[in-house]
């Protein structure tokens, strides 16, 4: 699965798709593949604040529990409620229908800490090779 060229990425395998002041946040294809079948998602609260690099939610596969780290700081303006009933959407379409939250971005300066698609692809490949599974 290709990684969208216009998204920004974290080392911990989240992405953010920026649309004006808004960012749509989810897990990358690498993350969902490493987790395996996702069976539970704990979404953040709409209206809550998230901080860059800090946990905003939890995804659970059959075997593993994993925190999700926010790519940017800001206010949560929407969450993907559909994941409550169909958490496997993250596996099926991580970069699209499997999005987790929408954030009103507080400071675009934080983008400096994120990776572009080329850097992220390299990062994911290296982790895969190092056997992070």
């Amino acid at each position: 699965m290709a990684y969208p060229a216009d998204y920004k990425y974290t080392k911990s395998h989240e992405y953010i798709k920026v649309e004006g002041n808004m960012g749509i946040v989810g897990l990358t294809n690498y993350a969902q593949d490493q987790l395996g079948d996702i069976v539970f998602v704990e979404l953040p609260e709409v209206g809550g604040e998230v901080k860059q690099g800090e946990p905003f939610g939890v995804v659970e596969s059959v075997k593993a529990v994993s925190d999700c780290y926010s790519p940017v700081g800001g206010k949560v303006v929407a969450v993907n409620d559909k994941l409550n009933d169909e958490p496997g959407t993250i596996n099926a379409d991580p970069h699209g229908a499997g999005w987790i939250m929408k954030v009103e971005i507080a400071d675009k300066g934080e983008f400096a800490n994120l990776m572009d698609v080329a850097a992220y692809q390299k990062h994911a490949e290296e982790e895969a090779k190092a056997g992070h599974h």
Binding site: G36, D37, V39, E42, V62, K63, H133
Partner: protein
């Protein structure tokens, strides 16, 4: 380059690579946590048939003129009613009644027994068995390294295996073995046992025959949709079937009585290691008992999460996950007997929140009767 350097390999290691397993370090063994995906593999075993590499399990033989009297001293279950080719599930206990390991004992002949023990406990078990063998005319032999083992599990297990052997599988009862059979021309022992809640077999072979046996079974099961199954689904399948896992439901502090396995314990046997400890626990009253739990609130109880009532910690979760078959979040855990009645509401401490759960009947899953 060896991708899994430093890990122990089973005879089926090349099959894990060939069939695209996600190989992990499982207690020092290179084994697949999944192949096609845990949910898919789980459902395949419930509806069709799956093939597992379980060669990491330990095997030992107990032979000698006093093998029976020695084992009667070592395990908690009375083995005298065992017939040749019968398998018993039982426990090795500490004097306290806590569990050294749970195991399968097969009687091959009089005073000739075959043990299957947990991978993570194999060294400890063999040392424990040898330590107590003094004074008995008995030989304890660790044959783990000389044994390959696969499990063939699911409704089509018999139909698949029967294609490859002249042994009459229809006549092989549950918890019985055919000690010397040929499967696809390979010498094996066939045991009608498993750890999934489905019908099926565990098949022991020489390590060098492993890959050929695996490929023959995969080919024979092709008509029935056979798939290789990893450790993830092995755990979810045994969990739904309410089967204990050492290190979770059983450990050195917990006895089979608390784990509701009393039917496998023969307290009427005059003597065995752990009997006094069990009697004492029973007389004093059990401090905890294993229950099934179903989440009422949204959340998944996991191994180690505290169980709560009225803000007090009253127990702990031993295993918990999303049940693929039931589509619900369920768990097993220890609670005081006073809170063990079906329907009792308690809470699970998950990431700082007290989420509601209720005590439900176990096992969570029982295979449909034919």
């Amino acid at each position: 380059m060896d991708q899994h350097e430093g890990l122990k390999k089973t005879p089926f290691y090349p099959m894990h690579l060939k069939y695209g397993g996600k190989v992990v370090d499982f207690g020092g063994w290179a084994l697949s946590v999944q192949f096609s995906g845990i949910l898919d593999e789980h459902q395949t075993v419930r509806d069709q048939i799956g093939l597992f590499d379980v060669s990491h399990m330990g095997e030992a033989t107990i032979k000698g003129p006093q093998a029976l009297s020695y084992l009667q001293h070592m395990v908690s279950r009375d083995l005298t009613p065992m017939k040749v080719n019968q398998v018993f599930y039982t426990h090795l206990l500490y004097p306290s009644g806590g569990v050294v390991d749970d195991l399968m004992v097969t009687k091959l002949r009089d005073n000739d027994y075959y043990l299957v023990i947990n991978a993570s406990n194999a060294e400890k078990d063999v040392a424990w068995l040898k330590e107590h063998a003094g004074g008995y005319q008995v030989e304890v032999k660790d044959i783990s390294a000389a044994t390959g083992e696969v499990a063939l599990q699911g409704p089509y297990a018999q139909a698949t295996l029967q294609k490859l052997t002249r042994a009459d599988l229809g006549a092989l009862g549950y918890y019985h073995v055919i000690p010397a059979a040929e499967v696809a021309g390979i010498r094996v022992m066939i045991s009608r046992t498993g750890y999934t809640g489905e019908d099926g077999f565990e098949i022991m072979c020489s390590p060098e025959d492993g890959p050929a046996l695996w490929e023959a079974l995969m080919e024979a099961g092709d008509d029935f949709g056979i798939k290789p199954i990893g450790l993830g689904a092995r755990d979810s399948l045994r969990f739904e079937a309410g089967m204990p896992l050492y290190g979770q439901e059983l450990d050195a502090e917990t006895s089979p009585l608390e784990a509701r396995l009393a039917r496998f314990v023969s307290l009427d046997k005059p003597e065995f290691i752990g009997r006094a400890g069990l009697m004492e626990r029973q007389q004093r009253g059990l401090a905890k008992v294993l229950v099934g739990l179903e989440m009422v609130d949204r959340g998944i109880a996991r191994h180690g999460h505290p169980l709560l009532q009225g803000g007090n910690e009253i127990g702990y979760v031993t295993s918990g996950m999303y049940s693929p078959t039931l589509g619900r979040n369920i768990a097993m855990g220890y609670v005081p007997p006073s809170l063990s009645a079906i329907g009792t509401e308690i809470q699970v401490g998950i990431r700082g929140k007290a989420l509601r759960a209720k005590v439900v009947k176990m096992p969570f899953y029982r295979r449909p009767k034919k």
